[in-house]
Amino acid sequence: MSWRLEPRAEPGLLVEAGWLVLAVLVAVLAGALLFAGAGAPPLAALGLLVTEPFGSGYGLAETLVRTVPLACCGLAVAFARQANLWNIGAEGQLMIGALGASWLPLAGPPLPEAGQWPLLLLAGALSGACWGGIAALLRAFRGVNEILSTLMLNYVGISLVEGLVHGPWKGADGFPYTDFFGPGWRLPLLTGRVHAGLLGVIALAVVLHLLLARTRLGLELRVVGAAPETARTSGIPVRTRLVLALTLGGAFAGLAGALEVAGVEGRLHGGLAQGVGYTAILVAFLARGNLLAVLPTALALAALTVGGDGVQMAYPGVSAATVLVFQGLLLLLVLLGGRLAGFRLRRSPGGGRP
C-alpha cells in the first residue's frame, strides 16, 4: 500500500481556488518569517502591508499611482502571452518609452500647449513599440528566443537613459535627471497625485479584452500561441501576428514610461522603472491570461509595494528587497499550487509502481 499523486481529469474551480488560497497563505507566512528575521514584529508588519496602501487617503492615492505602470506593463506581458511569447522586456520598453516621451519637450519641435501631453504619450508608446519590435522581428524572422533578447534590451534601454541623463540631457543643477517639463506636458490630475492615466489604463484593458474576446485578430493571436501549425494551415500569417503581439506589448510598456514621466515625475531619470517591468511578469501570471484581470492583480502588487515601503519605513531592519523575495515566493507557490490542483492524492493498493 502506498500513496501516489495521480493526474486529475478536470480540476474544479473550488479545488483551484483552494490551492491558490493555500499558496498565498504560505507566502504570507513566509513573509512573516522574513519580517521576524529582520527584527520587525511579524503581525504588526503584516498589518502595515494592508493599512499602509488602503488605510488612508494618501496611501490609497499612492497605491493607485503605482497601479498605473504595473497594469500597463502587465498588459504588455499578458498581451504577448496570448501568442505564447514571453515579454521579459517591459522594464526596458518602459525606459525607452520614457526616453521617447521626454525627447519631445527636451529636443522636439515647438508644439501648441493643448497638444503637448497627448503627443508625449503617443511618442512614448511608439518608442516602446520600436523597442519591443526589435525583439519581435528577431523572433519572427530569425527565430531568436524572445526571453533572452527582450532581457538584453532591458540593460541596453536602461543604460541609454542613464547615459542621456548623465550627459546631454543633464539638468541645470548638474544632477543626473532632466529639468522639469512645462505644465502643458503634464497629465491632468484626478485627485491628489492620482493622474488621468489611471482611467486610460482601465480603458486600455477593456479594449484589449474585447479585442481578444470578440475579434478575428484576437482569435488569430491565440491560435498562433496555442498551435502554430494549425495557424499556418488555416492561413493565419503567423510571423506578422508574432510581431504584432510583442510590438503592441512594447507600446503598452512604453506608454507606462510616458505616463510616469508626464503623470508622476514630470522629468526623466534613470530610476524610473525600479523593477516594475519584472513585477509585471507576476501581474500577468496571476491574471492567468485574462487582460481584465490584470487590473486587480496590478492593484494588489502595487499595494504590496506601498505596504512594503511602509514596513521598511517603520522597521529600518527590513530591507526594500524583502518585497522582491515575497514576490518570488508568491510566483513559485502560486505556480506550484496551480500545478498541484491538477493532481489528486490516491492510495494505491499493491506496489507503488504502476
Binding site: P7, A38, L138, S159, H166, P354
Partner: protein, 311 residues
C-alpha cells in the same frame, strides 16, 4: 607600457572576467543536456556571490566562501529542480521566480556587506605553466577559480562525451522515454544535473564577488547569468565553444570596465552596453538557418517527463 604588455593585460582581464560566465554557463549546459531549462542563472549567481562574500568575510578564507557558495546555491537550485522535474511545472515561470528570489534574498541579506572590503582570492600562479611566454600570464597567473574553470571545460566535455553516466545524462535530455524504459532513473539524473548547475552558478557568483570585482553591491551579476544562458545556445551545447564565448564576453566586459585605465577616451555608458549588444548579435547568428540545424539542442529540453503523460 608597450603594446605587447597592454595586450597581455587585456587578455588576462578577459580570461578573469569570462570565468563567472564560463562557470555559470557550464552549469546551465549540464542541466540543459539533461533536459532541464533553468532561466534562474542570474538569481543563482547572485545567491552564490553573496554567500561567498559573506562566508569569506566571516571565516577569513575565500576557499570557505567559494565552498559555501557551491553548497548553498546547489540547495537553492532544488527550488527549481523539484517542482519542474517532479511535478512538471512550467520551467520558464519557475526560472523567473528563481531570479526574483535570488535578487531579493541577496539584496536583503547583502545590505551589511555593501562597501565592505572583500576577503578576495589572491592569484595563484601555476608552477611551471605561469612562466610560459605569452600564455603564461594570460591563462595561468590567476585566482584558483579561473584554474577551476580551465580544468572543468575538458572535464565536463570528456565526462559528457565518453563516460557511461555522461551518456545517460544526455539520453535523459534527448529521449527520456528510452532512458526510463532501460531502467535508468530519469528524474534523479535531471534533478542531479539541475543541482550541479546550481553548484557551478554559485561558483560563478563566487568568482565574481571574490575575484573579478571583489566587492558586494546589489545586483552584482549585472546580467551575466542571462549572458551565460545565451552563450549556451551560441555554443551549441559544447563546453569548448562555451569557453571561447566566455572569453569573448569577458573581453567585452573587461574593455567596458577598464577602458579608462587603458587610457582610451570612450563614452562609459556606450562601453557598458557592449556585452549586451554582443549577446543580441550572437543570438541572431546562433539562431539562424544552417547553423541552428548544425547546433544540437537536446530534443527534450524544457519538456517534463512523466510515465503517466507520455507526449
Amino acid at each position: 607600457m608597450t603594446c605587447g604588455s597592454l595586450l597581455t593585460l587585456l587578455l588576462a582581464a578577459a580570461v578573469s572576467a569570462g570565468t563567472p560566465i564560463l562557470l555559470a554557463g557550464l552549469g546551465e549546459l549540464i542541466a540543459e543536456k539533461a533536459g532541464v531549462l533553468n532561466l534562474g542563472v542570474e538569481g543563482m549567481m547572485l545567491v552564490g556571490a553573496l554567500t561567498a562574500f559573506a562566508v569569506a568575510a566571516a571565516t577569513g578564507s575565500p576557499w570557505a566562501g567559494a565552498t559555501a557558495a557551491a553548497v548553498v546555491t546547489g540547495v537553492f537550485a532544488l527550488l527549481h529542480a523539484l517542482p519542474v522535474v517532479l511535478l512538471g511545472v512550467d520551467p520558464v515561470v519557475s526560472g523567473l521566480a528563481l531570479v526574483l528570489l535570488g535578487s531579493g534574498l541577496s539584496a536583503s541579506f547583502g545590505r551589511p556587506f555593501i562597501g565592505q572590503p572583500a576577503t578576495a582570492f589572491s592569484d595563484l600562479p601555476l608552477p611551471g605553466l605561469s612562466g610560459l611566454p605569452g600564455i603564461g600570464p594570460v591563462l595561468f597567473t590567476h585566482d584558483p577559480l579561473v584554474t577551476l574553470g580551465l580544468l572543468l571545460v575538458p572535464g565536463v566535455a570528456l565526462w559528457l562525451r565518453s563516460t557511461r553516466p555522461g551518456l545517460l545524462l544526455r539520453i535523459c535530455g534527448e529521449n527520456p522515454q528510452l532512458a526510463d524504459a532501460q531502467g535508468h532513473p530519469v528524474l534523479w539524473y535531471r534533478i542531479g544535473a539541475t543541482v550541479a548547475g546550481g553548484v557551478l552558478a554559485g561558483l560563478g557568483g563566487a568568482a565574481l564577488s571574490l575575484a573579478e570585482t571583489p566587492s558586494w553591491v546589489d545586483g552584482l551579476a549585472a546580467g551575466r547569468g542571462w549572458i551565460a544562458l545565451a552563450l549556451v545556445v551560441f555554443a551549441g551545447w559544447s563546453p569548448w565553444r562555451l569557453l571561447l564565448g566566455a572569453w569573448l564576453f569577458g573581453g567585452l566586459v573587461a574593455v567596458g570596465f577598464r577602458a579608462q585605465a587603458f587610457g582610451l577616451d570612450l563614452p562609459t555608458y556606450g562601453l557598458k552596453l557592449l556585452p549586451y549588444l554582443a549577446t543580441l548579435l550572437v543570438l541572431v547568428f546562433a539562431s539562424t538557418g544552417r547553423l541552428r540545424r548544425h547546433l544540437g539542442a537536446p530534443a527534450a529540453l524544457g519538456r517534463p517527463y512523466s510515465r503517466e503523460r507520455r507526449e
